[in-house]
Amino acid sequence: MIVIIDYDMGNTRSIYNAFTLLEKEVVISDDPKIISDSEAIILPGVGAFSDGMNNLRKKGLINILNEEVIDKKKPYLGICLGLEFLAERSYEGGTYQGLGWIKGEIIKIESKNSSIKVPHIGWDDTKIVKNDVLFNEIEDPIYYYLHSYYLKLDPRENNILTSICNYGGVEIISSIHKNNIFATQFHPEKSQETGLKLLKNFLETIS
């Protein structure tokens, strides 16, 4: 059984639907017992960074996440905000502290080229920069993005980078993989079969 963390922010239902289609037993929960019993943790998210972190804190989920993912090395898949939370801090509407599992910051998409629109909404070419199990057998990856902020990775973490997306000259980090931690800025649960295939690949890493 895998668990989708319920913190009142994510499009949890869409992700639940995707894993259900892939015939995996999945629950949406904020219950520490269920989280601790699960085989893997999915942290989705749409919305503002500070609200999201606040909700995680209020629900007492940060300790459990640290325990399960960092101490016990349970497989983790973060989607969108679930990727952004991994950073040390975000500058969305102020300065807010993240989980700090990876070295980096969340900053606003800004381009010298004024023709790009923010939020970055829609399907975009995603360039795989490192062979990664998540992209097994996926050719020509095009994924659905929906965000205004992105991860600026500390160069010391460059080896965790697995894919990027060039949006009007801004190099957006599309996905990372560090030990048991996977995360995508794009939405695999909404990227039709190319996304479902990626989720299936994630499931294969835990079976």
């Binding site: 499009n11 949890t12 239902r13 869409s14 639907n17 995707a18 259900t20 289609l21 892939l22 015939e23 749409v46 919305g47 503002a48 609200d51 629109k117 923010v118 939020p119 970055h120 909404i121 829609g122 399907w123 975009d124 070419d125 057998e137 996926i138 050719e139 020509d140 095009i142 659905y144 929906l146 965000h147 205004s148 060039n166 949006y167 009007g168 939405h187 649960e189 909404k190 990227s191 039709q192 079969e193 190319t194 996304g195 479902l196 295939k197 299936k200």
Partner: protein, 270 residues
């Protein structure tokens, strides 16, 4: 490179998918589940589902339709129609919607755009703008599904909606809706050039070239249509192919070997 999007718009009236002509709703085309199943397995990039029912009796029905749809919709699903408060947005998101479209309530109370985009992120909030030309050839914003003229200028309103936190604009020409005369390119271009958030063009598509014109001439980021998809075989696939041939940067999806969603019977949902 970011793709131009093709977005079918499913207009739901009293639980049925209908055709819309200048905001009058006529023939029942199908049920929403069948329509979305069809679109999901083809080459479209998102789906918008709008409830235009005037009878509030059908509202619960509509919620159940969305819940049913989201189980088999693995592309972004936008839901709109008569949304007035944050609780209802929350409810639709919990039912599996990814984005929310607001219209009348946003005009009545622009703070609603701010509140909802603060709570759910601006990427989640699409402000829908319905526009009609008056007798002096001036564009005006209409609300209440085309019944009420606000005398507001659509360009000013789009800029204001953006400032209040809208993530996208769904721009509909009421005059062109259902006419097959093509988009109102002048209107679309005026707004697309004035704002920095994406514009989805809607209303009037009668042939595939209209989609191309919406992007190339109207400068829309995404193109939407309704009626044309219901009556043309392999419609969305053909539309995409046409767009590719016209030199547009669009997505041709790849299909991998995965389980297919079980098709529930329509009456299982109700």
């Amino acid at each position: 490179m970011l793709k131009n999007r093709l977005i079918p718009n499913v207009i739901v009236n009293n639980g049925n998918v209908v055709q819309s002509k200048q905001f009058k709703h006529t023939n029942v085309v199908s049920n929403a589940i069948t329509a979305v199943d069809f679109f999901n397995s083809w080459a479209v990039d998102e789906i918008i589902v709008l409830d235009v029912s005037r009878h509030t009796d059908y509202r619960n029905n509509f919620h159940r339709i969305i819940e049913g749809l989201s189980k088999r919709c693995f592309i972004p699903l936008t839901v709109g129609g008569w949304i007035k408060n944050l609780d209802e947005i929350k409810k639709f998101l919990a039912e599996g919607a990814d984005k929310i479209c607001i219209n009348t309530q946003a005009v009545i109370n622009p703070e609603f755009i701010k509140d909802s985009s603060n709570m759910f992120g601006s990427q989640c909030i699409i402000v829908s703008i319905d526009v009609k030309k008056n007798l002096n050839d001036k564009y005006e914003v209409f609300i209440d599904r085309g019944r009420k003229n606000t005398n507001v200028d659509p360009v000013e309103w789009a800029v204001k909606a953006q400032d209040y936190g809208a993530g996208e604009i769904l721009l509909t020409s009421i005059d062109r809706d259902g006419t097959k005369l093509g988009y109102d390119l002048e209107l679309i271009r005026m707004i697309s050039e004035k704002i920095s958030i994406p514009v989805i063009a809607f209303g009037g598509v009668g042939k595939w070239q209209d989609l191309v014109d919406g992007i190339k001439i109207g400068k829309a980021d995404a193109v939407s249509a309704a009626n044309i998809f219901h009556y043309t075989e392999h419609s969305t696939f053909n539309a995409k192919e046409y767009m590719v041939k016209a030199g547009l940067n669009v997505r041709m999806p790849k299909f991998y070997k995965l389980p297919t969603p079980r098709k529930p019977k329509y009456n299982e949902i109700f």
